[in-house]
């Protein structure tokens, strides 16, 4: 099984040399293509940059419930916006009913 990364071309290209399948997304067309590709082949881990998560929230959130691929939000080139932390917080809230600030 393979690892994929979804993000702006500027930053994700470096991962290509690590053997990760890179999906550079600059336009919506790229994103749709990437998503269909990811859905059709068996990727087990998917890294997504924060900007992409923010832009295509609905589509990414659909992936959350699937057991595969595992999604990890990584910071992109922009300053850390805390979207990854936000998603972690949401997970805690879902499980505990409230964020008790662990």
């Amino acid at each position: 099984m393979k690892v994929a990364i979804l993000g702006e071309k500027k930053i994700v290209l470096a991962f290509k040399s690590l053997g990760v399948s890179v999906f550079g997304v600059d336009k919506e067309k790229d994103f749709n293509l990437a998503v269909t590709e990811i859905e059709n082949s068996n990727y087990s881990i998917l890294f997504v940059t924060e900007n992409i998560v923010e832009k295509y929230k609905n589509k990414i959130e659909q992936f959350y419930k699937e057991s595969l691929p595992a999604i990890l939000i990584i910071p992109g080139t922009n300053n850390n916006q805390g979207i990854g932390k936000e998603s972690l917080k949401k997970t805690i809230e879902r499980a505990l009913g409230a964020d008790i600030g662990l």
Binding site: V3, A14, S17, V22, L68, A70, I74, I92, R94, L102
Partner: protein
Amino acid sequence: MEKIKPTRIELIKLKIRLKTSQRGHKLLKEKRDGLMKKFMEIIKEAKVKRIEMEEKLSNSGKDFAIISSPFSPKEVEQFFLLPSMKAEVSMEEKNIMGVKIPVFSCQTYKIEPDEKSYSYFSFPIGMEKSIKEFENTFSLMLELANIEHSARLLSFEIEKTRRRVNALEYIIIPQIIQNIKLIRSKLDENERAEKIIRLIIKSQIA
């Protein structure tokens, strides 16, 4: 509340249902507690690792952006046209209280050990360093992906289990108890009425 027939057979059925739901409630509660315990362990780890990963990655991301800035996007793409390493992920399933959680183990290996897929001539000097940094962060990223994913899957299951526990505790069990009470009182009432009738008949005969 649906209308229930005040018969003995209904009472027996309700009693059995009460017993099963109480047992189910107890089991589900235990499941919830067990899941919660696991979840807490995982989430603590995730929080620490997340901070570490974000710091590392945004640093190396910035470096990479600076180094690649003098080149056009197409050129950068060209540098990485051929991957020099391959990442292969194998997956096992772990079962935590009935929740199937994937455990990944990842291996990266060089496709051709002695060869680099870029030449030192065209490749910017800093780029290699920046790639090394990404490489170092990569295993941490994979680990975190695994942890966060497990946490997410567990949280969905905990939510579901908690709903079930609450439904049983606050709705189904009290409802059954009330129904049992209703039938009991109805049956008792019938019995008393019958007794009185018998007494009356007896006094009339005498």
